[in-house]
């Protein structure tokens, strides 16, 4: 405990004495974690929008002519048994005809007269099947098509795959940029600590002569790295906390037309994961950067 306390005080002192490099390292980590925060917000919000969109992307199942209610119930049971199926909604022929009329004709059109009051879609009762994961759509369609009493199955594969692919693209790009920035951060922390070690070469040498263990010598440098990482993580979190709400507000007021699709994750929910993630990454790169440097440079000192 005493060694830890001493190491902690010396670590803080090291940051102060090695101001320039410490600031550069803090700045890089802060930039990196700021970007991480932005990408995280982008990905999580996009996933949220995809999830909402997915809930609106359905498979339409039409039945053979003359299919009985018993058969329809049986089909529903089979479809609901599939893993990613979230819900199945029955659309009767009448509901389908009403919806079609609303979509295609104005109130003034005497459309009912044209068909003499008959329902031209009388064999168009259907199920709308909603999935929790659109990437499974194809296999579900394949399964439903094989069921007895099913005439036709319409999917929305293009939209489903575009959403999934776009989400994947954003994730890959974000992860690549973040990994690159993390590597730069580790390098900068390790350089800051290496400079600290070089500046304190005499001190380390004296400590070795008076019987300091490697751990006693290492602790202040490890504390220095971890603190740099921690400060570098806290700064962007504070900034992002204020910016996130403002950005959401700005987008919703300036792009009102898109508000149907833009469903944002709220600030508290967003930071519930982002705070521990950023802190862990900050402390992690601080630890790895200083450990690498300490391991490499301390051996050079007698």
């Amino acid at each position: 405990m005493r060694t830890l306390g001493y190491g902690f005080r010396q670590g803080i002192k090291n940051i102060g004495q090695n101001r320039l490099f410490s600031l550069a390292a803090i700045g890089t980590i802060a930039t990196c974690l700021f970007l991480l925060g932005i990408f995280y917000a982008l990905i999580s919000n996009f996933q949220n929008m995809v999830y909402n969109a997915e809930s609106n992307v359905g498979i339409t199942v039409f039945f053979d002519e003359g299919t009985t209610q018993k058969q329809i119930d049986w089909i529903k049971e089979k479809v609901l048994a599939c893993k990613t199926v979230e819900k199945v909604v029955y659309i009767s022929a009448e509901e389908a005809w009403d919806a079609f009329q609303k979509e295609m004709y104005s109130k003034d059109d005497k459309i009912e007269d044209t068909f003499g009051g008959d329902n031209p879609l009388k064999d168009s009762a259907s199920f709308e099947v909603y999935l929790s994961d659109v990437s499974n759509q194809e296999s579900i369609i394949h399964f439903i098509k094989k069921l007895d009493g099913v005439r036709k199955v319409n999917g929305s594969n293009t939209m489903a795959s575009s959403l999934t692919n776009f989400n994947l693209l954003i994730t890959y790009v974000s992860v690549s940029i973040i990994v690159l920035l993390l590597m730069v951060s580790v390098f900068l922390i390790s350089t800051a600590v290496a400079t600290g070690i070089r500046v304190r070469k005499d001190e380390i040498s004296i400590m070795r002569y008076i019987g300091a263990t490697d751990l006693f010598i290492k602790i202040p440098f490890m504390v220095e790295g971890i603190l740099i990482g921690l400060i570098g993580a806290i700064l962007p979190l504070v900034l992002l906390w204020f910016l996130y709400g403002k950005m959401v507000e700005f987008i919703l007021t300036h792009f009102e037309v898109l508000s149907r699709w833009l469903t944002f994750v709220n600030t508290a929910e967003e930071f519930k994961t982002l705070i521990p993630l950023s802190l862990m990454v900050g402390v992690g790169i601080g630890f790895v950067g200083s450990a690498m440097s300490v391991r490499k440079h301390l051996r050079e000192i007698a």
Binding site: R2, T3, Y6, Q17, D202, E203, S205, I206, M207, R208, Y209, I210, G211, A212, T213, D214, F216, A302
Partner: protein, 232 residues
Amino acid sequence: MRQENELIRLEHVNVAYPTGTEALKDINLSVQKGEFIFVVGSSGSGKSTFIKTLLGEVQAASGKLLVAKHNLSKMRRKELPYYRRTLGVVFQEFRLLDDRNVFENVALAQRVVGVSNEKIRRNVLQMLEMVGLGDRRRAFPKELSGGEQQRVAIARAMVNRPSILLADEPTGNLDPNNSWEIMGLLEEMNQLGTTVIVVTHNNEIVDKLKKRVITLNKGEIINDEVQGGYIQ
């Protein structure tokens, strides 16, 4: 024949530089508890290598080295700090930390071994009184004279009560008055029971103090004399 009070024993010790040049050749030596020894010799005679070998900084190529119950020939790297805690070391250039005051420079030796703050305060103040710097504990090294800096270095070396004090040219950077004061302090430490080994080329001090003198030349002990003198 090994004696009961023997603190250091070197048998056929050879030390070579990485270039292959032999720095110490077939060194045989026995030092008893409480001895005061001068190690003398011209430049390149192997004096510094001798001290470095005792510090565990340089590994012997062959031979047996027993120091304060530690077998240096078989010592692993992680055991070295614990061995060094049995030694105190003083350098010609003092090697104090400029960013810490006198108290903290001496306290560092105690912090390294995990002594409590309360004990550190008591031991350091006692040690500073002993070296005559009780009233300068808040001063920084740059505010002290060379003699005072060397006193701080001696206090740092002695605060953990080591059994052996190694001093590498402790008067090399001091004027004659300060040199004599430092030698007086080292004698005091010796009288308290610490074995003191001083590497020096100050013939006046060696001749006057009449202690055991080991003379090295080209890495070999050419003379080992109780109450000896400086051989040119």
